[in-house]
């Protein structure tokens, strides 16, 4: 298995080995010695780590997180990464995200539409190391392509594709291959895996910008 980034460890909680990061607890997750368990069933990125995907993350990276929702996953990311920009479109989850951000001085919450990067390009810096994307909208590949402008040349896109957001009637396999195909117009896919064990009808993708 590839190494976990610095700041992410497998720790024992009540005798069970679980992924964990160090930080203030957010959603009632188990804690031990300042570490908080990271539940892969509630986090697509957590599932990608749990399944041993090679995310290329080492810790301390600058991150653009698209689809931060109520901050569950992004709180763990901010625990081990550097400056983390969290974009979320809906006001209600953003209310919770703000609570998470208040206790993390390098987490920057933004109420913005990930399909319109120009509305936050004056805030998010260029050459971020990682884009994490988990948006439940149609056109997920398109969102990744539009946000490529933020990513450093050797940066990584960590993408969770939700089949049902693209088309509820099509089979997940055909949705995934369509997303992969359109993603390949701007990215080179390094690895992809179904997240089935933790998230139904989701595909995890690790990619880097095409040269």
């Amino acid at each position: 298995m590839p190494e976990l980034p610095a700041g992410v460890e497998r720790r024992s909680f009540d005798g069970v080995e679980r992924l964990a990061t160090r930080g203030e607890p957010v959603y009632g997750e188990p804690t031990a010695d300042g570490w908080r368990a990271w539940n892969p069933d509630r986090s697509k990125l957590g599932a990608m780590f749990e399944l041993g995907m090679d995310t290329g993350l080492e810790g301390g990276e600058t991150v653009l997180y698209l689809g931060a929702a109520n901050g569950t996953t992004v709180s763990h990311v901010a625990d081990f990464a550097g400056p983390t920009y969290a974009v979320e479109f809906s006001p209600r989850p953003t209310r919770d995200l703000l609570e998470v951000a208040e206790r993390r001085s390098r987490l920057f919450p933004l109420l913005k539409d990930a399909r319109k990067p120009e509305t936050y390009a004056h805030i998010v810096e260029e050459d971020v190391d990682v884009i994490v994307q988990d948006v439940a909208t149609r056109g997920q590949a398109d969102v990744a392509l539009r946000n490529r402008r933020f990513l450093a040349e050797d940066g990584r896109l960590l993408l969770a594709v939700k089949a049902r957001s693209e088309d509820v009637t099509a089979s997940p396999d055909s949705v995934f291959s369509a997303v992969r195909e359109s993603l390949e117009s701007g990215y080179e896919i390094l690895e992809s895996r179904r997240l089935e064990a933790h998230h139904m009808d989701h595909l995890g993708i690790v990619a880097r910008p095409q040269k």
Binding site: P91, R95, S105, L110, E118, A121, E125, E126, R149
Partner: protein, 285 residues
């Protein structure tokens, strides 16, 4: 270049910029800010200021979006539904409990009211207190309904006129906002609230649903079975238009109602003519 960055200007300018500003491309904002902003000397200060500014600007943006009127209405209609359901569940519980001390125990909110007025002999104090809670919750639901009836015509005058304030609010609640209801095609409006049946249909083992929550509208419920699909389709078509008018212009247009009534008269006339042959396309509806 740095003219485009969020950090230009006073603290207030910065908050405004974060909410409404834009740039075609990102840049090395931290470096540009350190060079140009007098209150930002190094990277640590840059990120501290950015944190402060994004948290306040985003909080203000969230509050503004959540205070929008359709949002208030949606919260109220959901609270109304919760209060009704909870009141009924507790009334049922109360009635079961009361049956142990009162052979004449009735059911529902009415019985809770009676129980408070004339508690049966041997009735324990917590039972009366529970009955009070049931009556209070039912009253709360009434208050919420009154609020919805007042507010819906302000938020969505045309939709409320056609659907009635409560159904209008339920449609908004199902769509999530007036904005998203206004963008839905009439076929989607027709089956809002019948998602389960719709997905069963899309999976291929059920007929397409004729109506969702609009079933509660008199024009649908009060129409004979053979013509209900037509009525639901006519109503949904007008509701979709009404939502768009409410969203994009906000003006009340009584002609929408008139057109709908005319259409309904035609559909209902079929029953009077004893003509049970439906329009083509209705046979599967």
């Amino acid at each position: 270049m740095s003219g485009d960055g969020w950090f230009v200007g006073t603290q207030n300018d910065r908050l405004e910029r974060i909410r409404y500003g834009s740039a075609a491309q990102p840049a090395d904002w931290p470096t540009l800010a350190i060079e140009s902003a007098t209150d930002i000397d190094d990277e640590t200060m840059y990120y501290d200021r950015l944190h402060e500014a994004t948290v306040s600007a985003t909080r203000a943006a969230v509050q503004a979006r959540e205070r929008a009127d359709d949002n208030q209405l949606i919260h109220a209609i959901r609270a109304l539904k919760d209060c009704r359901r909870t009141a009924n569940e507790l009334a049922e519980r109360l009635s079961e409990w009361a049956g142990t001390v009162d052979p004449e125990a009735g059911t529902g909110i009415d019985y809770a009211e009676r129980l408070i007025e004339e508690p049966p002999a041997d009735c324990p104090e917590p039972m009366i207190s529970l009955a009070t809670r049931v009556v209070d919750l039912a009253q709360q639901a009434e208050d919420l309904e009154a609020y919805v009836e007042r507010q819906a015509p302000v938020v969505a005058p045309n939709l409320s006129a056609l659907a009635g304030p409560v159904l209008a609010a339920r449609l908004l609640s199902l769509a999530g906002s007036l904005d998203s209801l206004a963008k839905k095609p009439s076929g989607t409006v027709q089956v809002l609230g019948a998602e389960e049946a719709l997905f069963a249909h899309l999976r291929g083992h059920a007929p397409s649903p004729k109506h969702g929550v609009i079933f509660t509208h008199e024009a649908v419920r009060g129409t004979r079975l053979e013509d209900r699909g037509s009525a639901a389709r006519a109503l949904a078509g007008k509701l979709a238009i009404a939502a768009r008018v409410d969203h994009y212009s906000g003006e009340y247009r009584p002609e929408l109602e008139a057109e709908f009534e005319e259409r309904m008269a035609t559909i209902r006339a079929r029953a009077d003519e004893g003509d049970d042959k439906t329009e083509s396309g209705d046979s599967h509806a």
